[in-house]
């Protein structure tokens, strides 16, 4: 049952300069829908249009099968977390949280009950009497979140609701939001630029760039089969390494004029169809040559210790590629490093259209991919 | 600086004419008439240039004069209403006109007697009379006719006014009979018409007044008169606003009212009916005494250069001339202070056309010279007027005459006392 339906939705602030271009999209009831895209790509704008805060320049917005283009925000029965919190500066935290409930004339007892629950969940119990200006950035964000949560509206729109929280709290919130969403059967549209949030929370992700939809799909699909170069480089952190690909001879091809791989039949065909091809490989797929034999040897430019993993900047034909290895590796910059790169793990894109030609094959899930 | 040009600091124009600054309080149509006269004077000779400058109401102009008196900003001459006379005399910053009369050997004998009576204090002229008026009763001749009253024989007494009012209202319920503006000046005149003094010490002319000079009967008669008409439902209340009353008269909302003769021209010209002008009424049981002259006179500043004062004196004399007075009289309805003006062709023509204008003159000439009609002099008269006006309004609005009267008398006496004390002599 499609709950929200966008048909050819377009938005422009000034005629002739579209911020959003022909957005077509359906979101199911109870779905957790994540919206990602670079800064300025129109995520907030789209959210605000769904909320009814921004006029729809063109196109049809349906909710529950009904056209709602003309409906007031308050008649759309939704709640929203604003990117800039939009707290009422003159009201205390408690009053901020209860604002909507009072407006909807929810009973006092129910108000207090929900307030207590929500404040506890968000760790705000001690701050209920403060005014927003007496709160830290993260505390403010939690109030904004609480305000949305407490409303229990069937549709929730959240614009980067966790961006100002620390990792620990964020992890906790992630779980809470997800739990709540499931429990109440909420439909949630969630803007984020946190990779982990996007991958773990969303039932589906939509990638927006420059006002145009790049791809919509399950998180893992977007990761494994990015529809184009943009998605490939946007999803996944560190980003996918990319390199121009040239055919050296019938069965071999070169990436970035440096890495040589053997080409199978399917690939040879591909090279015939597409003139310029770009190969991409995810950082975790440039693996240490431990369990496999080394395929290439690369110079280490820079090493970063992240604690649970080590990030290596490698020189590939003059370009910097990143490899990410789990655990802590004592590798010195400047050394040559033996690595193993499987052709399987290469994705190929058409350099002109930027579209995916062949995704990396994950040869049947369930097998260990990279250890 | 450039801005200062033409202010009272410069006493001569670029082409060497003596400048005379003349402050006045004539607004509206009167200002037009005055400006015309000033222009004609400036054209009539090439020694003097009079600059007439409006300074607000009589009150404001006087206050302002007091504030700048003795400084360079003070004008050469200023127009002050009659009741400001005493305060001007007391100010110590004026040059009594008598000095110029004596020096020049000028004869003031051509002036209207009442005017002389008013402005001659301690046997000398402090100021030069200029614009004088008296109150008269205006009435609607057409309405009189309709009500079966004789339009050529207007009511003379309070009682006759009442009766006429009743007749008017009976014949036309839309029209009220009589209106009295709550204006202290009119009250003073109605007192004088009964031969009553406003202040003791012969209206302050034999010595400094210490309290009011009228009896309870004299004072109350006016209040009671109004009250009676009020109960009859023949009285129209226009409060203190003269203009509203005039408009009411013109719109035939009221058939009779009292007002300064200065309005005659305007009324006669604008009324869609025949306007009658009559003498001020008086209570039946007393003889008519007559009226006090109103309006204003011109004062000379002290401490100005002799040439300047001389020039101003020349202008004052010019204003006295019959031609000018005739013009002033016909343009405004103020008297000609110089009766010779009535012989002027302009005036004659006007009187022929509008015989009503003559009534005002006749009334003045029918006045008995006495302390009562000579008019009161004291520096608290403006305050007296306010007190009386409040009392009148109170009666208009159905207030009790006795208490209203008592309150007013107390306030008047207190004001006199304070004024005497404030002089600090």
């Amino acid at each position: 049952m499609s709950y929200i339906e966008l048909k050819d939705i377009t938005k422009s602030y000034h005629a002739g300069n579209n911020i959003l271009e022909q957005i077509n999209l359906t979101i199911e009831k109870g779905e957790f829908f994540v919206l990602v895209g670079p800064s300025g790509s129109g995520k907030s704008t789209l959210l605000r249009m769904i909320a009814g805060l921004e006029d729809i320049t063109d196109g049809v917005l349906k909710m529950n099968e009904k056209v709602v283009n003309h409906l007031q925000p308050k008649d759309r029965n939704l709640s929203m977390v604003f990117q800039n919190y939009a707290l009422y500066p003159h009201l205390s935290v408690e009053q901020n949280i209860l604002f909507g409930l009072k407006a909807k004339k929810v009973s006092k007892a129910e108000q207090q009950k929900r307030l207590k629950e929500t404040a506890e969940m968000m760790g705000l119990s001690e701050l209920l009497d403060r005014k927003p200006r007496q709160l830290s950035g993260g505390q403010r964000q939690r109030v904004a979140l609480a305000r949305s949560v407490v409303s229990e509206a069937p549709l929730c729109l959240m614009d980067e609701p966790l961006s100002n929280l620390d990792a620990k709290l964020r992890a906790q919130m992630r779980v809470e939001i997800r739990r709540l969403q499931k429990q109440l059967g909420l439909t949630l549209i969630y803007v984020t630029h946190d990779q982990v949030e996007a991958m773990t929370m969303g039932d589906r992700i939509m990638v927006l760039n420059d006002g145009e939809i790049q791809q919509v799909g399950k998180p893992i699909t977007l990761y494994n089969e990015p529809a184009n170069l943009f998605v490939a480089s946007f999803i996944g952190s560190p980003k996918m390494n990319m390199g121009k690909t040239e055919i050296k001879d019938v069965s071999n091809f070169l990436v970035n004029k440096t890495l040589s791989f053997s080409a199978d039949v399917r690939m040879q065909k591909a090279f015939q169809v597409h003139k310029n091809i770009i190969a991409g490989i995810r950082p975790e797929h440039i693996q240490p040559a431990i369990h496999q034999e080394a395929t290439h040897s690369l110079e280490v430019i820079h090493v970063e210790q992240l604690g649970n993993e080590t990030s290596l900047a490698l020189d590939v034909g003059g370009e910097l590629w990143t490899a990410k290895w789990p655990g802590q590796w004592d590798i010195t910059a400047g050394n040559q490093l033996e690595v193993y790169i499987s052709t399987e793990h290469l994705s190929f894109f058409d350099a002109q259209t930027e579209a995916l030609i062949r995704p990396a094959s994950f040869s049947g899930h369930g097998e260990v991919q990279a250890i | 600086s450039n801005d200062a040009e033409g202010s009272s600091e410069a006493t001569e124009t670029e082409d060497g004419k003596q400048i005379v600054t003349f402050w006045h309080a004539m607004g509206g149509a009167s200002q037009e008439a005055l400006d015309k006269i000033v222009a004609s004077y400036n054209e009539s000779q090439d020694e003097v240039e009079v600059r007439a400058e409006f300074q607000g109401t009589y009150d404001e102009a006087l206050t302002k004069f007091h504030s700048v008196a003795g400084t360079d900003s003070a004008p050469t001459m200023i127009q002050v209403f009659e009741i400001g006379t005493m305060s001007m005399v007391n100010s110590g910053h004026i040059e009594p006109i008598q000095k110029f009369i004596d020096e020049d050997g000028y004869d003031m004998g051509h002036l209207e007697e009442n005017i002389v009576n008013y402005y001659k204090i301690d046997d000398q002229f402090y100021s030069m009379p200029f614009n004088s008026s008296t109150p008269v009763m205006f009435y609607n001749k057409d309405a009189f006719e309709e009500a079966g009253l004789d339009p050529e024989n207007p009511p003379q007494t309070f009682e006759e006014v009442e009766a006429a009012s009743k007749a008017i209202v009976e014949s036309n319920p839309e029209m009220k009979g009589f209106a009295l503006q709550a204006y202290g000046w009119l009250f003073e005149q109605l007192l004088a018409n009964q031969g009553a003094l406003l202040l003791n010490e012969d209206n302050g002319r034999s010595g400094v007044a210490t309290e009011i000079g009228f009896t309870e009967e004299q004072g109350k008669s006016i209040f009671e008169w109004v009250e009676r008409m009020n109960t009859d439902g023949t009285f129209a209340n226009y409060g203190t606003n003269g203009d509203n009353m005039l408009a009411g008269f013109l719109a035939e909302d009221v058939s009779m009212f009292l007002q300064s003769s200065a309005n005659s021209r305007d009324l006669i010209d604008n009324a869609p009916f025949e306007v009658g002008v009559a003498f001020l009424p008086h209570p039946e049981n007393v003889e008519r005494e007559g009226v006090v002259i109103g309006g204003a006179s011109l004062w000379m500043s002290e401490g100005k250069e002799e040439a300047e004062q001389k020039a101003a004196w020349d202008f004052m004399k010019y204003l006295q001339s019959p031609e000018i007075q005739a013009q002033w009289h016909t343009d405004t309805g103020y008297f000609a202070i110089n009766p010779a003006a009535y012989e002027e062709e302009l005036a004659v023509e006007m009187h022929e056309e509008n015989p009503q204008l003559k009534v005002t003159v006749e009334q003045l000439q029918a006045t008995n010279p006495s302390y009562a009609t000579q008019g009161a002099v004291m520096d608290m008269i403006p305050e007296e007027r306010k007190i009386i006006e409040t009392a009148l309004e109170s009666v208009f609005n159905g207030g009790d005459v006795d208490t209203t009267y008592q309150t007013a008398i107390e306030q008047l006496n207190a004001a006199i006392e304070t004024a005497n004390k404030a002089r600090g002599e």
Binding site: G52, L53, E54, D55, H70, Q72, P73, N84 | S1, D3, A4, E5, G6, S7, S8, T21, W23, A25, G27, G28, A29, S30, Q31, E32, R51, E53, F54, Q55, G56, T57, Y58, E60, K64, S67, V68, T71, S73, P75, Y183, G242, D243, L246, A247, L250, A251, Q259, S260, A262, N263, D266, L267, N270, P272
Partner: protein
């Protein structure tokens, strides 16, 4: 955000009704200024259209001269007030020093002194300074303005403190911050205050009457006052014509200022 149709209609109805009520007196004056005295006095609808009243109003006082004077005086006062009030308001909001609150309340207290009550001593002051009949006498006494200081203080208080902090770090002194940030950010209030200052100066009548003795530096309101007479019959047509002449420049200014005001008012906030 779109406004629902029903509310739009209701709002328009309210707007029209309110506009009608608010504007009736002014409209009426404009209509009357073109009516003959006869029509006015009989309270009838205009039967003829005449410019006579205007002609007579222009004849009675040097109107153009008055208007120019009014402009000079009002603009001088406006600028003086803006400068002094914004300086003072800046001190009250952004500078912390001892006695600040006391001074602020002292400023507020000055608003309590009715101008008419101090008009005589002030008149004596400008008399002694030789400012009678000078533009200085007409303008300088009004430069300091507690009201404006108060208005701007309320507005400056809304400027986020981070802006001050950011510029402190950038090494910007108070004068620069005042000029470069506070004034532009508070543009709207400055315009509002400027319009207010201009209009109140334009509308003054007691003081200009007192502080001037001749037509050279007199302002237009005095002309309007001269049209009304004390006890003689008012010529309503001419008075209304005078009144219309007097209000036209201010209404035009307001009309022009309005657009600017609107634009200024929508300047964004912090985050």
């Amino acid at each position: 955000m779109r406004i629902p149709f029903g509310r739009k209609i209701v709002t328009y109805l309210l707007l029209i009704a309110a506009a009608f009520l608010v504007f009736t007196p002014t409209m009426m004056a404009v209509v009357m200024s073109f009516m003959t005295n006869q029509d006015i006095m009989t309270g009838s609808l205009p039967s003829a259209f005449s410019l006579d009243n205007y002609r007579r109003a222009f004849e009675q006082f040097p109107l153009l001269h008055y208007v120019i004077n009014s402009f000079l005086v009002s603009i001088a006062i406006m600028i003086g007030q803006l400068i002094l009030a914004s300086l003072a308001a800046y001190a009250f909001v952004f500078l912390e020093f001892k006695g600040r609150d006391f001074l602020f309340y002292l400023f507020i207290a000055t608003m309590m002194v009715p101008f008419e009550a101090s008009i005589i001593p002030n008149f004596h002051t400008i008399r002694d300074l030789g400012w009678i009949d000078q533009y200085t006498g007409l303008t300088i006494p009004f430069f300091a303005m507690a009201f404006g200081t108060f208005l701007l203080r309320q507005n400056f208080k809304q400027i986020p403190k981070e802006l001050r902090e950011a510029s402190q770090i950038a090494g910007m002194g108070d004068v620069k911050f005042y000029l470069k940030v506070v004034l532009p950010v508070a543009k709207t209030s400055l315009i509002t205050l400027g319009v207010y200052g201009f209009l109140t100066s334009w509308n003054m009548y007691l003081w200009p009457l007192l502080a001037t003795t001749n037509d050279n530096v007199r302002t237009v309101q005095i002309g309007l006052r001269q049209l009304q007479s004390q006890e003689q019959m008012n010529d309503w047509g001419v008075i209304m014509a005078g009144a219309v002449i007097v209000i036209i420049p201010t209404l035009i200014l307001l009309f022009l200022g309005q657009k600017k005001l609107q634009r200024g008012l929508t300047e964004g906030a912090l985050k």
